[in-house]
């Protein structure tokens, strides 16, 4: 039996166990899923009130498409960051290091867990969106395939960012609050929540360099009517550019993460976990 492949298999079942455990913890469930539920509710309300956005697509559908991108940012960057910073501190990562090929299993488990969580969160928005939100839906099988690859590539672009930040930040509690604000700021400058066109030019310039604008654009191309493309920056969906920018972010991110993560893991030791524990005890008193 190949030891590395064996560790991958152990990692898959580890990820699945962790995913199931997420459903047992009310707090964790809430932190992952309140965004989808909130936005579906908003979209349905906008829809029923008949709020006119002036666009080709009803505003409820636009808001919900933004929520899909926003959720991927929260899972890919904020959740990954927080999990990694926490598990470095509490000794989870150290345990993985102490068994043969344990870091392989650990990494695979995180990918499985995050993927399952993302699929769940997106399904929680897309399924009610298709059923109840006017103008939100697939025009054909191609649109569904587009949503799939945009989300997958988007996660590949975002998760390394979360992993890199998670290995640089030493205090998980501070880290999480520090990370949420920039995440929201990035979402704001990326035209995910409101039209990109109304942002100042220099903000647009920043937004275009970041992956989230392109992720949002890709999602809109999948779930909004084709006529909505006229309201985009280029007047079209620009799918090749979406794929290109996300792929560059993914490649660079993976390269940096592959360099950084083993270094971070090497620094993990029992006495560091012990020190973090004593620090946490002090804070608790």
């Amino acid at each position: 039996m190949n030891a590395r492949f064996n560790a991958v298999r152990a990692g898959v079942s580890r990820g699945w166990i962790e995913f199931r455990q997420s459903f047992r913890s009310g707090q964790e469930m809430f932190s992952y899923l309140y965004v989808p539920v909130l936005f579906v509710g908003m979209a349905v309300v906008f829809d029923s009130l008949g709020v006119e956005g002036g666009d080709a697509a009803p505003i409820g559908a636009v808001v919900l498409s933004g929520a899909v991108a926003f959720t991927l940012v929260m899972l890919g960057v904020t959740a990954v960051l927080q999990v990694l910073a926490t598990e470095r501190e509490d000794g989870t990562l150290l345990r993985a290091k102490a068994v043969p090929h344990g870091l392989v299993g650990y990494t695979v488990a995180k990918v499985v867990h995050m993927t399952a969580m993302s699929v769940t969160a997106i399904a929680l928005m897309v399924v009610p969106g298709v059923l109840f939100v006017e103008g939100f839906g697939f025009q054909g099988r191609a649109d569904a395939v587009t949503l799939l690859w945009v989300c997958v590539l988007g996660m590949f672009a975002l998760a390394p960012v979360g992993a890199i930040l998670g290995s640089l930040i030493d205090n998980p509690r501070l880290g999480a609050s520090l990370a949420i604000l920039p995440s929201i700021a990035v979402v704001m400058v990326s035209g995910v929540m409101f039209p990109f066109g109304i942002l100042p030019d220099w903000v647009q310039a920043v937004g275009l360099l970041l992956p989230v604008y392109w992720l949002g654009l890709g999602v809109r191309s999948a779930v909004l009517p084709d006529s909505h493309a006229a309201y985009e920056l280029a007047g079209s969906w620009q799918l090749p550019q979406v794929a290109g920018v996300l792929a560059v972010w993914a490649l660079v991110g993976f390269a940096v993460a592959l360099w950084l993560l083993p270094r971070m893991a090497r620094r993990t030791s029992g006495s560091r976990v012990q020190a973090a524990r004593e620090e946490a005890m002090k804070r608790a008193h």
Binding site: N6, R24, D90, G91, V99, P100, G270
Partner: protein, 324 residues
């Protein structure tokens, strides 16, 4: 298990008759600096197959640092280190599979069930199994061995402190390690749990031929379970030997106390037996409450640590040479 002493004695005999076993850990001139402070100042040590080696020393002596370097979790500043034939800085996963590390858990894996977690970590060892050493341990048998069978379905976060530590030990040995590291394993144990733990350590050394490197600042524990004690103070090994050898090192006489005619007496001597014989010759049955106190490990420990703290590190190093 009938008695925790029997296997220990059996092993001691085996070590005595079989001479010195194969060296599993070899360290010479190990140094560790954190910034400007030098934590280890040239540590030399050897651990042989099946031996229970205890690193004893006050807090801050460098015990944990030493163990983490041997585990491959920390890079040394200088010195030669060989653990199971590899430099721990470059130990591969095959090497990792032969080593067990008992970590002090905190709140990791809190929502896992005990049995699931142990089974999960066991899976990583399956490809490293051999006819001589079947890896991993059977999950249920191991839970039985550490006394967690009835808690197998519980969430880890609901375990008591002692139960968690037993789970830590189980995870550390699930891969049937040839070499096991335990850093302050019994901190926070009650006497009963401590006794059970010591039994388990003896079983591992005897039945599995596991070499055990354990740190503690508990003298009593060191005296009970060690085949050999290394006393670490100020970043150096200042004494090295069996508990009895160490006790015989202090230049301190035995104390004889006795009572004659309601009067209590005390006499220090290097030959207590002769003194007692003389006492009987003089007083006969008039002697009551006779007691001989030999210098204990505690005396050695305090003497060595004291010498070090008095800045007599050089002297202490001389002392350690004498003991080898």
């Amino acid at each position: 298990m009938t008695s925790h002493m029997a296997p220990g004695l059996a092993r001691a005999e085996a070590l005595a008759s079989g001479g010195q076993g194969e060296a599993v850990v070899r360290v010479s001139g190990l140094r560790m600096d954190y910034g400007d402070s030098r934590v280890l100042r040239g540590v030399d040590l050897t651990a042989r197959r099946g031996e229970i080696l205890v690193l004893l020393g006050p807090n801050g002596a460098g015990k944990t640092t030493t163990v983490e370097i041997l585990e491959g979790f920390r890079r040394r500043s200088a010195g030669e280190v060989d653990v199971l034939g590899s430099d721990p800085d470059h130990g591969d996963e095959e090497w990792r599979a032969r080593i067990g590390v008992v970590l002090q858990s905190w709140r990791d894996h809190g929502s896992w069930r005990v049995r699931d977690l142990l089974h999960h970590f066991g899976r990583y060892y399956a490809p490293h199994s051999s006819a001589q050493r079947v890896r991993p341990h059977d999950t249920d048998a191991l839970l039985e061995l550490v006394g967690l069978s009835e808690h197998a379905a519980k969430r880890v976060r609901t375990l008591s402190g002692g139960q968690r530590r037993r789970l830590d030990v189980a995870i550390g040995i699930v891969g049937r390690p040839e070499l096991l590291f335990l850093d302050e394993p019994t901190a926070g144990f009650d006497p009963r749990a401590r006794r059970d733990f010591h039994d388990l350590v003896f079983r591992l050394a005897d039945e599995e031929d596991t070499t055990i490197v354990l740190t503690t600042h508990d003298l009593d524990e060191a005296a009970k379970i060690a085949d050999r004690i290394l006393l670490l103070a100020g970043g150096r090994i200042v004494a090295d030997g069996s508990p009895d050898q160490l006790a015989s090192l202090v230049e301190q006489d035995s104390e004889v106390t006795w009572t004659v005619d309601g009067q209590r007496h005390l006499h220090s001597t290097d030959s207590p037996a002769r003194h007692i014989a003389e006492l009987y010759a003089v007083h006969g049955d008039g002697i009551t409450e006779l007691r001989v106190t030999r210098p204990s490990l505690e005396d050695v420990y305090l003497a060595m640590v004291q010498r070090h703290e008095d800045g007599e590190a050089e002297l202490a190093a001389e002392f350690s040479k004498e003991t080898r």
